[in-house]
Amino acid sequence: MLSSILLAAEEAVEAAESGGLPQLDASTWPSQIFWLAVTFAILYWLMSSYFLPRIGGAIEERRDRIADDLDKAAESKRLAEEAEAAFNRSLGEARIRARAIAGEARDEAAAEIVAMQKEADASLAGKTAEAEKRIHDMKANAAAKVREAANDTTRAIVEALILETPTDAVVSAAVAKAVKA
């Protein structure tokens, strides 16, 4: 087992010594240099003139697009903020206006109530006066009627007593005298 490892190692060393490093065989160098130059040149030409600009272009394009989109987003945000400010402004204005309208309405209503109260008071006073007048009239009427009735009664009593019809003036004076007394 050990001997086989040693044999393999020995063989490796032998190969290295006998043939020498293939890398140091100068007769293969021109061919290697030639094909290295050919393959490397082709690759360099394709890379520099075609593939790398394409990849770089794609990356650049994406970067531009992202920057564009970010700009657009910022613009949209600005617009939204503006709209919000405008909304808040108009909301404030509306609030002020509403407050003014409410105040006005309150004042108007109060004025109306005062006016109505005045009107009601006036009509009430009128009606009271009217009623008072009517009561007064009715009182006077009643008094007159009572007096007339008293006159009539007096006249009738006098007629019955003295068979003489007294004049109205005398009757009235007598009744008035009696009433006074």
């Binding site: 087992m1 063989e11 293939p22 160098w29 061919s31 690759l43």
Partner: protein, 273 residues
């Protein structure tokens, strides 16, 4: 003797190749350019496979170019951003023009390292075995030299002779310059070597160890008896090494890319030193 023991395993396509065989360069299509041999080899094959895979991946990933990316596009974009950040952070504003180079370098090494970890198809021809192109010093050194060449050309083009201030940082006592300047020059000259050797050595060592452990497993299995049970030890070892190599493959691609960025940054800002 070993061959006789391995016969039943060889029938399954399992054979203990030497740890150096995986690095052999084998021609597939012989080609010459003048006197120079530029045969299409297994190395060239895996370079082609790697680049083709990268191209297919990016073609699919960038095909739709959607605003909301799919999985492939996300992966491509993450890679793009990863390297772009690396370049921006190390080089700064001037880094933009080097981004395609650093990206290509990173993805090329990344894929080469990882494709090298794919197991070969058992029983396939040696030419078609998985091959790690970055395990060859000439490949990594060439890539390093490209970086250093760019550093030199760009450094002088941008800073003129002030690029040489890289070797003589301002604000030191005069005497120290006799010490600092040679040190800086040596450090600059060793950059392509260290850059190339770091990647190459990591790949080489990792693959040798991986193959050694795998070879032990085969040898022990071939030995039969009690040794077969023991083969579990190198098997677990090879799994552990594979996990390590999985980490190293990504890490070394990253290290190569970041060092390239640092050197380019030196070139861009040499006059300010």
């Amino acid at each position: 003797m070993i061959h006789a023991m391995l016969h039943p395993l060889e029938a399954l396509g399992l054979q203990a190749a030497g740890p150096m065989e995986q690095f052999q360069i084998l021609p597939i299509i012989p080609l010459t350019l003048g006197d120079i041999d530029i045969s299409f080899t297994n190395s060239a094959l895996w370079m082609t496979i790697g680049v083709a895979a990268i191209i297919v991946f990016f073609a699919m990933a960038t095909g739709r170019r959607a605003l909301i990316p799919g999985r492939l596009q996300s992966m491509a974009e993450i890679l793009h951003e990863f390297v772009a950040n690396l370049v921006r952070d190390t080089i700064g504003h001037d880094g933009k023009k080097f981004f395609p180079y650093v990206f290509t370098l990173f993805i090329y090494i990344f894929v080469a390292n990882y494709f090298g970890l794919i197991p070969s198809i058992p029983g396939s021809a040696h030419e078609l075995h998985t091959f790690t192109t970055t395990s060859h010093i000439i490949v990594t050194f060439s890539l390093a030299m490209v970086t250093i060449t760019i550093v030199l050309v760009y450094g002088f083009a941008k800073n003129g002779l002030k690029f040489l201030k890289l070797f003589a940082p301002a604000g030191l006592p005069f005497v120290l310059y006799f010490l600092i300047v040679p040190i800086e020059i040596i450090s600059f000259l060793s950059r392509p070597i260290s850059l190339g050797v770091r990647l190459f050595a990591n790949m080489l060592a990792g693959h040798i160890i991986l193959k050694l452990f795998a070879g032990f497993v085969i040898s022990l299995l071939g030995a039969g008896g009690f040794a077969m049970i023991l083969s579990i030890a190198p098997f677990l070892g090879s799994v552990a090494i594979f996990l390590l190599e999985f980490l190293v493959a990504g890490l070394q691609a990253y290290v190569f890319a970041i060092l390239t960025c640092i050197y380019l940054s030196d070139a861009a800002h040499a006059a300010e030193h």
